[in-house]
C-alpha cells in the first residue's frame, strides 16, 4: 500500500515532534526544573509512529515508563504533556502522574506505566472490552526487550491467544534493560521467536525503518480488527539517550551513540527514503522541523510558567466517591 503525500508528512511530523520533545527535555533536564525520573524515547520514533498511525482515535494503547513517544503518536496534546512532566496543575494528569504516568483516556492512551510488564495485562483488558462491546476497536501494548522477561507479559500473550482478543503486542528491542544487555537477559535472544511459541504470529522488523514498522503493524492491526486475532511485532530499536536522564551510560561503548545517530536515525532514514523517490520535497520537511521546534519551544515555556497544583489537591481524585 502506497502512502499518500499527506500521510507521509503527517508521519514525519509525529516523529519530529517526538524527537524534538525528547531532545528538549534532555536539555531542560540539566537545569533541575524537571522533577523525578524521565526516560526518553529519542531514536525509537518510527515505532510509536509506525504503529499508532494505523489506529483510530478510539483504539487503545498501553505504554511503558518510556512513554512520551507513544503519547504523542496517539495524539496527546504535547503542551499538556510537557506541563505534566513539569508537575503543573494544567498538565494532562493535573500534575499527579508525571512522566511515568501520563495518560489520556479520551485519546485511548491508557497510561505510561512505571512497572515493567505492567501494561500488557491492561491492554488485553481493553481488547476484551472491545470484543465484548463489539465496537471494533483494537488495543496495542508496548513493552521493552527487558520486559520480555517478565512473567506478566507472557500471561497476557497467552490469554490473548486463548480468548482471541484484538490486541497487538509491540516489543521495542533497544538492546538494553537499564544497563543490562538484551543478549544477556533474553534467553534465546529472540523475543519474537519466544512469543510465537504461545500460538500467535510474531514478526521481527527493523524499528528504525518507519515503513517496515508501519507495514507490519498495519497487517497485525487489520487482523485484530477483523477477527480478534492477537499478534506480536518485535522491533529492533536504538536508544539515543541513557536509560533515564542522568544515566552515565558506562555500559555502552564510547562511540555507540554517535554511530547510531549517524547510521540508524529513523528520521534521517525516513527523510532520505521519501526524498530519494521524490514523494516529498526536502523543504516540506524543513518546514515541519521549524513548526515543531516552535511548538516545543512554546510547550516548554508555557510549562515553565504554568501554575503548580494547590497543595490541597493531594487529597482529591483517590476515589470517585468515598464515605
Amino acid at each position: 500500500m502506497q502512502m499518500s503525500h499527506d500521510v507521509l508528512l503527517q508521519a514525519y511530523q509525529t516523529m519530529r515532534t517526538i524527537r524534538e520533545f525528547e531532545e528538549r527535555i534532555h536539555i531542560e533536564n540539566t537545569t533541575g526544573d524537571i522533577p523525578g525520573f524521565v526516560h526518553l524515547y529519542a531514536g525509537e520514533e518510527a515505532i510509536a509512529t509506525g504503529v499508532c498511525m494505523n489506529l483510530n482515535k478510539d483504539d487503545y494503547i498501553a505504554s511503558t515508563h518510556r512513554g512520551h513517544g507513544h503519547c504523542i503518536a496517539k495524539g496527546c496534546d504535547v503542551k499538556a504533556m510537557m506541563k505534566e512532566i513539569y508537575g503543573r496543575s494544567t498538565g494532562l494528569c493535573g500534575g499527579k502522574g508525571g512522566s511515568m504516568h501520563i495518560a489520556d483516556l479520551e485519546k485511548g492512551m491508557l497510561g505510561a506505566n512505571a512497572i515493567v510488564g505492567g501494561a500488557p495485562p491492561l491492554a488485553i483488558g481493553a481488547a476484551l472490552s472491545a470484543k465484548t462491546l463489539g465496537d471494533g476497536r483494537v488495543a496495542v501494548a508496548f513493552s521493552g526487550d527487558g520486559a520480555s522477561n517478565q512473567g506478566t507479559v507472557f500471561e497476557a500473550i497467552n490469554m490473548a491467544v486463548v480468548l482471541s482478543l484484538p490486541v497487538l503486542f509491540v516489543f521495542e528491542n533497544n538492546g538494553y534493560g537499564e544497563g543490562t544487555g538484551h543478549d544477556y537477559a533474553v534467553g534465546s535472544g529472540d523475543i519474537a521467536g519466544r512469543c510465537a511459541g504461545f500460538g500467535l504470529p510474531a514478526q521481527k522488523v527493523d524499528g528504525t525503518d518507519f515503513f517496515a514498522v508501519q507495514k507490519a503493524a498495519s497487517k497485525a492491526i487489520e487482523r485484530a480488527r477483523a477477527g480478534g486475532e492477537p499478534s506480536v511485532i518485535e522491533c529492533q530499536a536504538v536508544r539515543f539517550f541513557g536509560h533515564f536522564e542522568g544515566d552515565p551510560q558506562l555500559y555502552r561503548s564510547k562511540d555507540e551513540i554517535e554511530s547510531l545517530r549517524e547510521h540508524s536515525d529513523c528520521l534521517k532514514l525516513f527523510r532520505s527514503a521519501v526524498c530519494a523517490d521524490g514523494q516529498v520535497q526536502g523543504n516540506q520537511l524543513d518546514a515541519i522541523d521549524e513548526y515543531v521546534a516552535q511548538l516545543i519551544d512554546e510547550a516548554v515555556s508555557e510549562a515553565q510558567s504554568a501554575p503548580f497544583p494547590d497543595a490541597s489537591e493531594v487529597l482529591t481524585d483517590v476515589y470517585k466517591s468515598y464515605l
Binding site: 494532562l92 497510561g111 481488547a127 476484551l128
Partner: protein, 335 residues
C-alpha cells in the same frame, strides 16, 4: 422471606447485575469450568460453586474461563474496567495475591489518582478468605488488611448472606475498584435474603446486637463468634454491643466511636493479621479519636503471629474462639 445461603446470595447478586447491565462480565479460573473438555460445560461454577449456572444464562462471552494466570486475569479486569466494562474478576483464594498484586494495588487502585481524576475503574475482585478448611498455610489466609492499606481500593467483608448480596450489588455498581472478600466457612450459612435486588451502602456498620457494657467490633466470620460470645455473656449480666463494619475501606468510624462513647470499652475480633491488621487499625483509630471515652485498654483478639497450620488441632487453636472472646471480656469488665 426466603432463606438462602451466602453462596446463593452472591450468585443472585451476580445474576441480577448481569441481567441489568450487559457490561458486567465474570472472569476467572473455572468460573464455569469445562472449557476445552469433553464433559459438561459449567462443570465447576467456581471452585466452590458460587458462579454455577451463570454461563447457562449469559454464555461464554460473559462468563469467561481463563487459564491459570492471575496477573492476566486481574490486569484484564482492570483494563476492561477503564474502557467501559464492569468486570467481576475472581481470585480463587486471596492467598494467590502474591502472583498478581501489582495489577490491583499499583494499577487499578491508582489509575484515578495518577491520571488526575480522569479514570474510572469499576472493577470488582471477588476472592475467598479464611481458615477452617484444613487448607493449610497457602489457602487459609485472611488478607484484607493488605488491601485495606491501599489507597484507591474499597474492601468489603460480608459476614452473612443478606449483606453479601446487598454489598456485592453495591460493589458492582460502584465506580471505584472494590475487593470483595468471601469467607469460605460462611458459604453454607443461611439467612433471610429477598429475591429482588437491593444494595447496602459502603461505610455503614451493621449493629448486630445492642449493648451497654462493652463494644465489640468483629469482621466477617468473627461476627458470628462475637454474637455467640455476646449471647453467652448476656446470661452473666454483661451487655455487649456487637458491631460489624461490613466494609473495612471505607470504615464506619463514627458508629464505632459512638458505641465506644456509650460503653467505654472496646474489644476487636478479627481473623486478619495480628501485626498491621484490622484489629490494630481500629484500635489505633479509637485510641486517637475517642481516647477520652475509654475506661480501659482496647483488647485485640486475633490469630497469633504465625502462618495457618494444617492439623485440625492446630488450626482450631489458631482461629480466635468464642471462649477466648469471653475471657477477654471478663478481663475488661473488671475495669
Amino acid at each position: 422471606m426466603p432463606q438462602k445461603t451466602y453462596r446463593q446470595a452472591i450468585n443472585e447478586a451476580l445474576r441480577s447485575e448481569m441481567q441489568r447491565d450487559p457490561g458486567v462480565i465474570i472472569l476467572g479460573e473455572d468460573v464455569a469450568g469445562g472449557a476445552g473438555c469433553a464433559g459438561e460445560e459449567d462443570a465447576y461454577g467456581g471452585a466452590l460453586g458460587v458462579t454455577k449456572g451463570l454461563i447457562g444464562e449469559f454464555g461464554q462471552s460473559r462468563v469467561i474461563d481463563t487459564p491459570i494466570t492471575e496477573s492476566a486475569i486481574v490486569g484484564a479486569a482492570a483494563g476492561a474496567a477503564m474502557t467501559g466494562l464492569r468486570p467481576v474478576a475472581e481470585l480463587m483464594f486471596v492467598d494467590f495475591l502474591g502472583v498478581c498484586f501489582d495489577q490491583i494495588f499499583n494499577q487499578a487502585a491508582k489509575f484515578r489518582y495518577m491520571f488526575g481524576g480522569k479514570a474510572k475503574t469499576p472493577l470488582v475482585l471477588r476472592t475467598m478468605i479464611g481458615a477452617g478448611f484444613r487448607a493449610a498455610a497457602q489457602h487459609s489466609q485472611t488478607l484484607y488488611h493488605l488491601f485495606t492499606a491501599v489507597p484507591g481500593l474499597k474492601c468489603v467483608v460480608p459476614s452473612n448472606a443478606y449483606d453479601a448480596k446487598g454489598l456485592l450489588i453495591q460493589a458492582i455498581r460502584d465506580d471505584d475498584p472494590v475487593v470483595f472478600f468471601e469467607h469460605k466457612v460462611l458459604y453454607d450459612t443461611t439467612d433471610d435474603v429477598p429475591d429482588e435486588a437491593y444494595s447496602i451502602p459502603f461505610g455503614e456498620a451493621n449493629l448486630v446486637r445492642e449493648g451497654n457494657d462493652v463494644t465489640m467490633v468483629a469482621l466477617s466470620r468473627m461476627v458470628h463468634f462475637a454474637a455467640e460470645a455476646a449471647d453467652s455473656l448476656a446470661q452473666e449480666g454483661i451487655s455487649v454491643e456487637v458491631l460489624d463494619p461490613r466494609t473495612t475501606s471505607p470504615l464506619d468510624e463514627d458508629s464505632i466511636i459512638e458505641s465506644v462513647e456509650k460503653t467505654g470499652r472496646l474489644v476487636i475480633v478479627d481473623e486478619s493479621a495480628k501485626r498491621c491488621g484490622l484489629a490494630s487499625d481500629i484500635a489505633g483509630m479509637v485510641s486517637q479519636k475517642a481516647f477520652s471515652a475509654l475506661k480501659t485498654g482496647i483488647i485485640q483478639i486475633t490469630p497469633p503471629h504465625t502462618p495457618v497450620p494444617f492439623s485440625p488441632v492446630l488450626e482450631d487453636a489458631w482461629i480466635p474462639s468464642v471462649d477466648g472472646i469471653k475471657q477477654a471480656v471478663h478481663e475488661l469488665a473488671k475495669h
